[in-house]
Amino acid sequence: MRILLVGRVSEVKMLAGFISPISKGIETIDILAFGNVEDGEIQGLSPDNVYIALNADPWHPDDIVESIALVLNSYRYDYIFLPSSRLYKEVGARIAQKLNAPAITEATSAAIENGRIVFTRSLLAGKAISKETVDTPAVILAMPGRYGEASLGRRIKNISRISISGRRSIEVLEKKAKQRGSVRLEDAEIIVSVGRGFKSKEDLSLAFKLAELIGAQVGCSKTYSSRS
């Protein structure tokens, strides 16, 4: 079995953590990395083969899709692992359809059961758990921030630098980075969670006051975060 982990180095490290329960039986684990890639980081990850997309914008879906397609032209991968972010959900859908392949998004775990890889995800607005298996090739999008970073523990055979054409169907006119807080909800002991019922800033301050009192962090629903 051959698998490909795709993303920026920090994301690939997370994906390495995600696949660690199943990585023993996998013959080849390659990575395709975007952005500023330092040799030391790649050595630390220790995959079998490394592809570095030199001229690809790590935030542009067209560039990411073209880079993945370029790597897939050379090898058939059974599973292509991506982070389950908004950007990569778009990328994953396009790659999966090109490959006539199934995809599992927001996967929270991977395990081997009866010789098959079984992925788990939440379904029906968190009211059910779905255990899913897919024919290969398949695209798997793993939920970020849930796993520790892991080394793949292999010896690097080859590092290839790939170059894409840069043809784009979407032109970026303006881009604004969001302010990021220093809070890691994964590390919080208690989370005060808010949703759409919190209409005003005053409502939200109540949640922060409560969180301060009980030593919690404030989190919010997907809907609330996309609104603010």
Partner: protein, 267 residues
């Protein structure tokens, strides 16, 4: 310009039913128009009212079993979006399509859109309320060879292009794509309208075109994705915190939480 809107008839997640072994009884759960697809419909209707679009067609696929009960339920749900301002609905309901597959769902929808007419803009919600996988619209774009822009919170059509303000986790951006294109919208793009009684009555006269796999030139589809779904049972404690004023309510709330072992009050 004509607009196609992808509308999913999703499982109503507020009415999940389980058997004693926690298996989800999908056949017994009602469907509803997926919330964010209503935002897509609203955006299309606004464009029509502004004179940007001439015709709006919706495209749906019955993915939860094409029994006569489900078909009738689905037709009633489609009347809701016809009442919002959609001109016609296309529905593929075929007992032959009984597998879970984003791949085939997208392929069928793409064929339906081609069969439906000439559409410059295809709108959809960013995700459905039941699966939340966000896969189908961009897969449809890939099938049609169109660009896909996801997570739009503002859309402007001008000079054969679409300019979209969109929101990703780490940044927001404004992008431009040539039409035809597929755009997915977020909830924040608008507030879907509630149709008036007259609009609801008028919707009864609007057409719902039924389609089958054979009509779309599609045959048997291989099962490539299996899933076993288990419901999560939750039981509410039904604790009501009462007090004469906010301070007393907060104090009692914290005491109740501490009693439940959820946390201990600092200090």
């Amino acid at each position: 310009m004509n607009i196609a809107v992808l509308v999913k008839l999703a499982i109503e997640t507020s009415y999940i039913r389980l058997d004693p072994s926690n298996r989800v009884l999908f056949d017994e759960i009602p469907l509803r128009v997926s919330d964010i697809d209503r935002n897509a419909v609203e955006e299309a209707v606004k464009m029509k009212q502004q004179g940007v679009a001439q015709k709006i067609s919706s495209f749906s696929l019955l993915t939860w079993g094409a029994t006569s009960k489900r078909v009738s339920e689905t037709q009633n749900l489609l009347r809701e979006i016809l009442a919002m301002g959609v001109d016609e609905a296309y529905l593929m309901a075929d007992p032959g399509f009984n597998i879970y597959s984003q791949l085939y769902t997208a392929r069928i929808l793409a064929r339906m859109i081609k069969r439906g007419g000439d559409y410059s803009l295809i709108l959809a919600g960013e995700a459905s309320i039941d699966g939340y996988s966000s896969q189908v619209p961009c897969r449809v774009a890939e099938e049609l060879g169109y660009p896909c822009v996801s997570y739009a919170k503002r859309i402007e059509v001008k000079d054969g292009s679409v300019v979209v303000e969109r929101e990703l986790e780490e940044y927001s951006e404004v992008v431009r794509a040539k039409l035809p294109a597929v755009i997915t919208v977020t909830r924040e793009i608008n507030v879907p309208r509630l149709p008036t009684l007259l609009q609801i009555r008028a919707a009864m006269r609007k057409p719902i075109h039924m389609m089958t796999l054979a009509e779309l030139g599609l045959g048997e589809m291989k099962r490539i994705h299996e899933r076993v779904v288990e419901g999560i049972r939750t039981q509410r404690k039904n604790i009501i915190v009462e007090g004469r004023n906010v301070d007393e309510k907060v104090e009692k709330f914290l005491e109740a939480m501490a009693r439940e072992g959820i946390f201990l009050v600092k200090g």
